[in-house]
Symmetry: D2
């Protein structure tokens, strides 16, 4: 065949393993040939499981391998920008998990390196590839409801992340709402201004750590359309992720998919399944689809469906939301600069 | 106006009271001016509550009253045919609860009397007036699914009737399935043959009384279409009444309406309301609509939406089902004669 | 009986007629004995239709009639406060449509008059009586989801009101969102602060009239819980009115009731009924229930379920939202004074 | 690892390819090492695509290969029994597509050969592995609804098979209803008697070929419970497959899963996705799960979840249904013998 895309994985944690397995099982056009992780054992273990013969501690070895066509960056956020720059310099195509970085200057330098090297960079906003949201986006693009007026994104996690993560993640707007910011842009285009209200309701320790756990973020799009994102770190009934768009000719709704369709009825009423609890189950198909899209973009030299700029703007929106919450006023994206 | 239709109610039990209240509250074109019941106190009580000044024990007094335009026959089944004949002879229009009678000869004599007198007779198959089934019927009539091929009627009661009733009702096919037989004809036209399977599962006493409590009845329509009715005397989750029609161009479904739309979600899933338990709540609107239709038919001299023949055929079908169950073979309606 | 509550209706327009019919048909404990309207013919017409013998042009005649126990104020908003004061002075109990008035000083004077007279005043926030929202409220009160964290109210009208109305209504926050403000308080208690974003998307003429037609209003409750109301003057698919509450133990959802449950399926998928278009159909049961509650409150001398204060605070919230939109900042309710 | 289960595929058509791909992609505990097909090119093509190095025309070569642990029999029905006997004689474990054979004597001889050889045989009733039906089965087994009374299986294909297939398939009861017969036994245990009504409504050519295209099959279980299967060769809205069970404590329902959850609403109502059209999409997960179960049964020496007897009885039921339709009477399974 010759033409399979050869991947090196950098970062063999939970999300790295997910992508690696998807490549091996679901993408015949690609191969995984390298696994690197700062914890060498983790790299070795995953490599063995997937029948990959090259592994090691240092990502530089992946970049030095001339057989590697593309890297998957699944390391901790603070290393993303540097690895992107190095990978670009090595002429490797890049799939990088979100966020690109927490520092906007770092993001800009990474994007410049990518542009200069002429490699393809795709950022891991997997929700764009969810079949339900994708269908909604298609119907929107087909003009089904005409001009969109009002976007509503519901996005609740089943349980808060560990406090240790909350302390370094950049806060709810940069680690959780960032997905919704991306979705907002994906569906209705650029946002001009955000207003964020937040409260500590789920766990007071989150407040002690300087963050909120429940938030309502109002968006004003450049088109004049409005949007609202509701977030909460905990929904006991599972990973609640829904989207609605009201437009001049009707409404579009993407509901939660349920794990199964079985119902039980008795005197107490009808009971259906709870939602998927874990994001990896909820977005199983989306993760496969995003990787297929990356492979296709690289193989065909196309613009990837989530560009570097798409990786940057949601970070800008996260900072705007943080400033809005702090200063208790709407904040324009144009106020935020690296 | 002068033209309100003046009703005399014969039989002030549960269903009589329901119709009486509907006339008083919901049908400005009609009035209730007489209440008769063999239990005179029952007549008096209902009359007082509804501000009706004439009441008594004997239905003949109602028929003798020249001001009465129409009678509502809500007495026990064994009296229906006689009262119909007498009412027809007195020139009164007639709304009679189902079944017309358990004896086909009696039904024929009653219908002859009605025809001879030229009065209007409507039989109380209220489900035809349910807004959900009505909408399904309309869509069918509009050709939405083209030629219908397969009808499925689900019809479960929330709890069995008293055994005393089971013993005199004529059995499940004549007291319960009769509604579904009517619905089948209403939707897909005449039935040629029925096959009934039955079992005693809910309560062995029902078996002792000579009846079954769970049944599957297969219908072959004259058009060649097939149908199936599933019945059970008990569904712990409420009065489950659904209809489906598969046709050449698609499917039509009338689902159960729920008492309210509130849902609760937690780790165990989503829970909605149980079904309406009681048929009077489930079919509240249908009972009003059928009486409005009768009033309209009388006032405008139109054929009523449920004729005497519509009252007879489901009884024939009930006997065919009984014979089928007993003789363990499909039975043609043409085999059943008074 | 002697004990029926005798009503005089003041204002025989659309909503007045609705209440009048409900009293006559659905509330045996009440009677309608007077109809007044500045357009005398309108009063006469409605009175005739409902069999009411007293009618006239001047509401003072209603107040002067010693047989009248209670008045229904269904006139234009600018007259509410004055009629309330006069009715209170005449010792009549009062059911008044919302809003009490657009001037907070007027509201205060009206409420003082009511208090001084010791009469009962109920304000017409009918949505509290919708069976779906009511069930949600009950489950919330029963602690089903524990402490509530996040309230979402979706409230879209099927089509904008006439521009002439937009110009005098006080704007979207005082004529439309006011219902949602009431619902927010009904469900989660007092609100401390609002932030409103708005846009003119449905009809530029609404913008010319100085109003917005699409809005997102963020609420901060005194409890720390957050809320968001989304409003639009037009949803082509009908009167979309939904509520969600996320709490520590789960979620509650009140979905839109559909006019019927019939579905049609073909190659294009499943199609269900559109929403109720008209608020009078959507809230038919709620209007009856609110009037029953008023009658019960008066007859039993109880605090009515929607008090004068409940009538005032949503107006305060409306002004806070208007100021927030204008000054582009969150506004505390305490900033708003008559 | 050493322990992967090595498969030889016999029959590289549509369903053979499906199983082959599932083994390669989704079952790390198994390997595909042989592909045989009477059309050698088909075998070669599939082998190449999946990286399998051994292929050929004759299934005997697969059986002769000592490395092969198990065979997948995906050939035409008339060859199943012979290949099973040969495979058993060769000591290979066997996964065989349904039906085992159309001749009951052939089935018995094949099952005897399997038993004598002590190999594991699993029959391809994939619907048992559908996550929705599986969940229903689990709830039933957990006693959620107590004793089951009434089973309803809806099973419509999106379009009729080619007439050439109809002529050799054994008819609707042996090629289509057979899945529903298996499901009935899986859920409620053994069936004592069947009654079948059938009609030619979809395509008169099916009637000319001696078959019906629409059927209602009543089941009487040994437990006394009743069941009904409704079948149609064509449902324009897709592959409609639903199950309901009514029991003493409630009802269980397994609804159709939809391809996506996006909805569109306008004046015409709400529209959801059509059903999956193709059974391979509808049952994608079920096919993987059944093969995993087979691999697990072989590796752990367990009784497979669908035994040879489970493969035989539905064929018996198919013949009982055919006889019932022909003789127009209920037929006991005990009447059917090879």
């Amino acid at each position: 065949m010759g033409g399979t895309l050869k991947f090196g994985l950098i970062g063999a944690g939970r999300i790295g393993r997910l992508h690696a397995e998807n490549i091996v099982r679901h993408i015949p056009e690609a191969e995984l040939i390298w696994v690197a992780d700062v914890v060498e054992e983790a790299a070795a273990k995953l490599a063995r499981e997937l029948g990959v013969v090259r592994w090691g501690k240092d990502y530089e070895a992946v970049l030095d391998d001339p057989e590697v066509d593309a890297v998957l960056i699944c390391t901790s956020t603070d290393t993303h920008a540097r690895i992107i720059r190095d990978a670009a310099a090595a002429g490797k195509h890049i799939f990088c998990e979100k966020p690109l970085a927490l520092d906007l200057g770092e993001i800009d330098r990474a994007l410049e390196a990518v542009e200069k090297a002429g490699v393809i960079l795709q950022v891991g906003f997997h929700r764009r590839f969810d079949p339900n949201f994708r269908r909604l986006k298609e119907m929107l693009a087909e003009g089904t409801i005409g001009r969109p007026w009002l976007l509503k994104i519901t996005s609740y996690d089943p349980a808060p992340p560990p406090l240790s993560y909350v302390k370094v993640s950049g806060g709810i707007f940069l680690d959780m709402t960032i997905h919704d910011f991306d979705m907002a842009r994906f569906l209705l285009g650029e946002v001009e201004e955000v207003y964020a209200a937040g409260s500590v309701l789920v766990d007071p320790e989150i407040g002690v750590a300087g963050d909120v756990d429940t938030a309502v973020v109002t968006l004003v799009f450049e088109s004049g359309a409005l949007g609202v994102i509701t977030n909460c770190r905990k929904a006991s009934y599972g990973h609640d992720q829904r989207i609605e768009v009201l437009g001049e000719k009707g409404g579009l709704f993407a509901e939660n998919p349920l794990p199964h369709t079985a119902l039980f009825a008795d005197e107490g009423g009808y009971r259906s399944a709870p939602l998927h609890y874990f994001f990896m189950e909820r977005y199983r198909e989306a993760y496969i689809a995003e990787m297929k899209a990356f492979v296709e973009a690289v193989r065909e030299g196309k613009v990837p469906p989530v560009t570097g700029r798409d990786g940057k703007i949601p970070v800008v929106m996260g900072y705007a939301a943080k400033r809005s919450l702090k200063e208790r006023r709407p904040v324009k994206l144009s106020e935020i600069t690296g």
